[in-house]
């Protein structure tokens, strides 16, 4: 079976982001960008399934500007077979991305989509669920374990609030990867070189016939109020006195 893996180019997880002085957005110029860490886990899972003979082809897809080609090359270096860039120079909100991915899925006919559970920039945690809804497919969100049962279904362990939940879902399905699904590999230099030669097709949102007009307006960005710096206490006795008598926290 074919597996489609959506990947997003985001601000690297180590970067401390800054709000622009006019509160119109987040400062992105000169900031290090990387593949969304959850999407990296999704790529790894798909590649492992192909290596185990459970999948035949892994296709990475990204929606965004031309720079997202770099993100796709990262996925290719990890082992994806080919890549598709859905190019759009406007802001893409999760609903628009889900619609673009539906159009790609209709063309490619994968049996499974594995995506990251959320992107670490907008922290939306929406695209996979919306894609599943638009396709009328089942969804297995927040996956920490994935077993493929032939071509009919998958068994997924989900990380939920109270612990773990095991679900059996029919294929085709959308799976969203949580942190502990796997530990992604580092791409080796030979694989990075090889990735440069793997096919990367470019289509536009217009060619896919998808209206990507944003539905929501982001009108004001601000940093949350900073916590006032606290004090260091000398020992446990002082800590207990402060907690009980000063802060009255206990």
């Amino acid at each position: 079976m074919k597996i489609l893996v959506p990947v997003k180019r985001v601000v690297d997880y180590n970067v401390k982001v800054r709000v622009k002085s006019d509160n119109s957005g987040v400062e992105l110029s000169g900031v290090k960008m990387s593949i969304n860490p959850f999407d990296e886990i999704a790529v790894e899972e798909a590649v492992r399934l192909r290596e185990a003979g459970k999948a035949t082809e892994v296709i990475a897809v990204s929606c965004g500007g031309a720079a997202s080609q770099e993100t796709l090359r990262t996925a290719l270096a990890m082992g994806a077979d080919r890549a598709i860039l859905v190019e759009a120079d406007v802001e893409l909100q999760p609903l628009a991305v889900a619609k673009l991915l539906r159009a790609v899925a209709e063309r490619e006919q994968p049996r499974m989509v594995i995506c990251g559970k959320q992107a670490i920039d907008d922290d939306a945690n929406q695209t996979g669920q919306m894609l599943a809804a638009l396709l009328g497919w089942s969804q297995a969100t927040f996956a920490s374990r994935l077993l493929v049962d032939g071509d009919a279904g998958i068994q997924v362990t989900r990380e939920v609030d109270g612990g773990l939940e095991m679900v059996a879902v029919k294929l085709p399905a959308v799976v969203s990867a949580d942190l502990r699904l796997n530990e992604p590999r580092y791409a080796s230099l030979p694989n990075i070189m090889k990735a440069k030669k793997k096919p990367l097709d470019i289509v536009t949102a217009a060619e896919l016939g998808v209206d990507v007009t944003p539905r929501l307006r982001h009108t004001h960005y601000a940093e949350p109020p900073a916590r006032k710096g606290g004090i260091k206490v000398a020992d446990v006795s002082e800590l207990v006195r402060k907690l009980c008598d000063e802060a009255k926290a206990i």
């Binding site: 669920q129 809804a133 939940e165 059996a168 949350p224 802060a247």
Partner: protein, 315 residues
């Protein structure tokens, strides 16, 4: 301007996340309906009908709602919220709500809003992005907004105070797409991590699951606290995944948060920096956790934690 809250429940009562969502729904200023979909869920319906702000409880019973799967509940909500019946559909920002609401929104062809922390007006919301380092104001003129709301930002609506009408509604068809085959739910006598007044949380500095248990459980028991952990401690297998506090784990804002052996990566701070009082115990004086801590103790946690437990127990 009617709103609909999708109930999360355990067949006995509403989840605390749902009580927060009901408070958030009341901010829209209109009537609040609560949808209870389940299998043999009369107790939940009875509980929901006593909750503050609730005007009507919609009860949809079917054996296949027993699993609470997003696939089945989403089509039911789609039917209820199509055609302008509701200005907003809300759920708590729990794993249940996060899995379900985007599916509902896509079926309604609207953009959902995740982890809303403030409702300034119907159609104007605030939510955190970039692990809580930025708060964005989002405006919508969609016919219906579909949101999850953070429990730490909205007080739980009081229960046992009202007597809302109960209306039985027809279930939607079984989608037959997914079924729950098992659960491993942590059982604990301690308060729930998401709503506890005090949280004791441990990190990689504890070194092992045994140390975590030996040092932090007595402290938590002394304080009546919930237990939490950093991602590093969960990844290392010290504690199960449901202990994780942070950007992608649980978001907590207790009156007191005690971080033991946690360095304070921004992803962890995202989950706890709205706590009222923060205590950090760490041997590294440069650990970023001290930048958000009200009281920092630089030292060996293996000595400090038992001493802290002992002195607190003696008071």
């Amino acid at each position: 301007m009617r709103t609909l809250v999708i109930a999360e429940h355990d067949k006995a009562q509403l989840a605390s996340a749902t009580l927060g969502a009901i408070t958030a729904a009341s901010r829209f200023g209109g009537e609040v309906d609560v949808l209870v979909a389940g299998d043999a869920c009369d107790a939940v319906v009875a509980h929901a009908s006593t909750v503050q702000f609730v005007t009507r409880v919609l009860k949809a019973e079917a054996s296949y709602y027993g699993d609470g799967t997003a696939e089945n509940i989403a089509v039911l909500v789609q039917r209820l919220a199509s055609g302008g019946a509701y200005r907003a559909v809300l759920a708590g920002a729990s794993s249940f709500g996060k899995g379900l609401t985007p599916r509902v929104a896509a079926l309604l062809d609207v953009a959902p809003l995740s982890e809303v922390i403030a409702i300034e007006a119907p159609g104007r919301y605030r939510r955190p992005i970039y692990a809580g380092n930025v708060i964005v104001t989002v405006e919508s003129d969609q016919p219906v907004d579909v949101l999850t709301v953070r429990g730490t930002a909205f007080d739980a609506a009081a229960d046992g105070v009202g007597s809302a009408a109960v209306e039985r509604i027809e279930a939607a068809d079984d989608q037959g797409l997914a079924r729950v085959t098992g659960r491993e739910i942590s059982k604990s006598e301690r308060p729930e991590l998401g709503s506890a007044a005090i949280v004791v949380s441990g990190g990689r500095g504890l070194g092992s699951g045994e140390n975590y248990k030996r040092l932090l459980e007595p402290l938590a028991d002394t304080l009546g606290a919930a237990l939490g952990a950093s991602r590093a401690a969960v990844d290392a297998g010290f504690v199960p995944n449901d202990y994780q506090v942070g950007q992608t784990g649980k978001i907590v804002a207790p009156a007191l948060y005690i971080a033991v052996g946690i360095s304070g990566a921004i992803q962890h701070l995202a989950g706890m920096k709205d706590s009222k009082v923060i205590v950090a115990i760490n041997k590294d004086p440069e650990a970023p956790i001290f930048k958000v801590a009200d009281y920092g103790l630089v030292g060996d946690l293996f000595e400090a934690v038992p001493a802290l437990t002992g002195q607190l127990a003696a008071r």
